[in-house]
């Protein structure tokens, strides 16, 4: 059983706030613990901002998923931006090209259960994260 996909186009700072609110609402309805809710919302906030700042805007899709044993939430962040040239470097703590803390991408990976990134220079970036209920 898969629930309908909620989709938000990210093109302004306000949209990042909307993504955060949507993810929180769905996380609450999926009965994630308060800590997991906060972790997922924070990860979504980081990745949505990356989509906006580095990807030049894109879309965020949030779905409830069920693997038979556990329920979870899957979020896909996709943009048509320049892509990431050196993924290992981008996932290094403290590395940034934009004046931030350089913890967004690597930190978001630690905040979720599954983290999958597809990127190629000039092809855009697509990041899929999943958080399972405990």
């Amino acid at each position: 059983m898969s629930d309908p996909v909620e989709r938000i186009a990210v093109s302004t700072d306000q949209d990042v706030v909307r993504v955060r609110q949507l993810v929180r609402t769905i996380a609450v309805s999926a009965k994630l613990s308060l800590v997991d809710q906060t972790k997922l919302v924070t990860a979504a906030s980081e990745l949505a901002r990356n989509t906006l700042v580095y990807g030049g805007g894109g879309t965020v899709e949030v779905t409830r998923v069920d693997n038979g044993r556990r329920q979870g939430i899957r979020i896909v962040f996709a943009d048509q931006g320049p892509g990431i040239a050196d993924l290992d470097l981008a996932l290094t703590d403290g590395y940034t090209t934009g004046g931030g803390l350089g913890l967004g991408l690597s930190g978001a990976r630690r905040l979720v259960d599954e983290f999958d990134i597809e990127t190629a220079v000039g092809q855009g970036t697509s990041i899929t994260v999943t958080k399972w209920c405990r």
């Binding site: 800590v35 924070t42 906030s45 630690r110």
Partner: protein, 277 residues
């Protein structure tokens, strides 16, 4: 199909001749669509004014709402729409008030020859343009209301309070974006100067999620306060926020952090005491 100048003057004459009947029927229909939320006397006044506006625009030779002769009518329409928007009516309800004129006019048109029909359709187009104009004005008014409120919210949500002699606090509530972070920093630094306080507490109890951007804004504020000789304490770090900050890998370094505002105040007071003794 636009109005022809001779049609406009004939319509102006019709609006003049049948004014009582027209205003009556028009007011009835508007009253019906608004279901008693505006008094009949008020509506009657509005429709009477608008009828005059339409009549003088048409008599002045306006065949299109954008023309100079219709300037007065446009001003009336935008007043009406502004008023309705502020009173909380929907844009549709405002536009329907104008569409009602078409029905009212149909009631006073006599006979049914082809000339009349052509005139009616052309006039109807004129009224549609007027209704669309109120729609635009409505959206514009609402947008400026929202912009005003956003600005007020920015002002409201960033107070800097004096907790004790030498201790000021900033309770942060909601989303901390770049614009708000800037306001918070400016207020805090100014208050530090005004009160000469050596301690500032930044309370994040009301911030639902601390991501790297929020953390960076807080860190910058702390560094700026330090440059001015004040020590900052971050309070209101709840368990879920603490775990998230650790997982993200954010380090607050040697900045004092406390779980509650009370703890932070106690800490600041202890420090003040050791400093004095």
């Amino acid at each position: 199909m636009a109005l022809e100048p001779d049609e406009a003057s004939r319509l102006a004459a019709l609006l003049e001749d049948k004014q009582e009947e027209l205003v009556g029927a028009w007011t009835d229909r508007v009253a019906q669509s608004l279901r008693g939320r505006l008094s009949r006397a008020e509506l009657q006044r509005q429709t009477t004014e608008l009828r005059k506006g339409f009549q003088s625009a048409l008599a002045g030779g306006a065949t299109d709402l954008t023309q100079e002769a219709a300037a007065e009518l446009r001003a009336q329409l935008s007043d009406l729409s502004t008023g309705r928007a502020r009173q909380g009516f929907s844009a549709t309800e405002t536009a329907v008030s104008l569409f009602a004129l078409k029905e009212a006019l149909l009631g006073v048109l006599d006979g049914g020859d082809a000339g009349n029909l052509r005139e009616y359709v052309a006039f109807s187009e004129f009224v549609d343009a007027a209704a669309l104009f109120t729609f635009d004005t409505y959206v514009h008014v609402r947008e400026s209301l929202i912009a005003d409120q956003a600005e007020q919210l920015l002002e409201l949500s960033t107070p800097v309070v004096k907790l004790w002699d030498g201790v000021v606090a900033v309770p942060l509530v909601g989303t901390l974006d770049s614009a708000r972070a800037q306001v918070v920093m400016e207020r805090l630094l100014q208050t530090l100067v005004d009160t000469g306080s050596p301690y500032a507490i930044i309370d994040i109890t009301g911030v639902p999620a601390v991501d790297t951007q929020v953390a960076q804004h807080i860190l910058k504020t702390v560094v700026a306060a330090r440059l001015m000789g004040a020590d900052c304490i971050i309070s209101g770090i709840r368990p879920q926020i603490a775990q998230t900050i650790v997982a993200l890998g954010i380090e607050f370094g040697d900045i004092a952090t406390k779980a509650s505002l009370a703890d932070a105040l106690r800490y600041a007071l202890n420090k003040t005491r050791t400093r004095e003794s």
